[in-house]
């Protein structure tokens, strides 16, 4: 079987696994115990937290791939991994930013508040948006190098976002959450399910980058 044949097979298996796990986690979220004060709105946590975890994982992959690209002979594949992961991370971050206010409206009686975690997360999302803006505006000769440098620098914003609840006072996000074991179990499975979904979406996006490389260079991307 050719390289592309194997890649297609792995993609199909990843999607099947992701679909199964996500469907299972949604079913479990629907049947998880109700939180006493918030009621059913609390179930937003089962998509909000896993999406945030997947976004941070995606940006970490971008960070690592960017470093490897810069130190190991500037192979286009590492750049492709970095940009693919970054884009999927942006989608997960968008979901965090959409589901967050729906939670906030019910829990904090406001759609948005400029507390440390929300503010730093929004800034992080805008900065990673800049990654794509700059990537598309620089010439093809330096595009990969500039993107890799940005992929490394921008990870600082992820660390700031992650640590914001510890570093600044007045955060409405708790440092740790106490949950009954059933809820914690559903949350853990949801995190695993969405991480597998990230892996499948990443492979799909990476395929796009290999096609782009083939179209631009005229060579076989495999």
């Amino acid at each position: 079987m050719s390289g592309e044949g194997w890649a297609a097979k792995i993609r199909a298996i990843s999607w099947a696994l992701a679909a199964l796990l996500v469907a299972g986690s949604l079913w479990m979220a629907a049947h998880a115990p109700l939180e006493v004060q918030m009621g059913i709105v609390q179930k937003i946590i089962y998509i909000h937290v896993p999406s945030a975890t997947a976004a941070i994982t995606a940006f970490f992959v971008t960070f690592m791939a960017s470093i490897v690209y810069l130190v190991s002979g500037r192979n286009w594949r590492w750049d492709a991994i970095a940009v693919s992961s970054c884009e999927v991370g942006m989608v997960f971050s968008a979901i965090v930013l959409v589901t967050g206010p729906l939670w906030a409206r019910s829990a904090w009686n406001t759609w948005w508040t400029w507390e440390p975690r929300l503010t730093s997360f929004l800034i992080m999302w805008i900065l990673y948006g800049g990654y794509f803006l700059i990537r598309s505006s620089v010439g093809s000769g330096s595009r990969r190098d500039v993107s890799a440098v940005l992929g490394v620098i921008l990870f600082v914003s992820v660390i700031i976002t992650y640590m914001s609840v510890t570093w600044w006072r007045g955060s409405l996000h708790p440092k740790s959450v106490t949950m009954v074991p059933e809820m914690r179990g559903v949350l853990s499975i949801s995190i695993i399910a969405w991480l597998v979904f990230y892996a499948a979406a990443f492979q799909e996006r990476f395929r796009l980058e290999t096609l782009r490389h083939a179209a631009e260079s005229g060579e076989d991307a495999r």
């Binding site: 059913i40 937003i44 096609l211």
Partner: protein
């Protein structure tokens, strides 16, 4: 109830939209590659 349903529905819409955009871009690039190779 409405907020929880809205959160999951919006997440679904975002993912469907993104995956469709990936599919469309891949189809365009595949076509571009086949034209280049000709």
């Amino acid at each position: 109830m409405t907020y929880a349903v809205a959160a999951y529905a919006l997440a679904g819409v975002i993912w469907i939209g993104y995956l469709l955009s990936l599919r469309a871009r891949a189809a365009r690039l595949t076509q571009q590659t086949s034209v280049t190779k000709r």
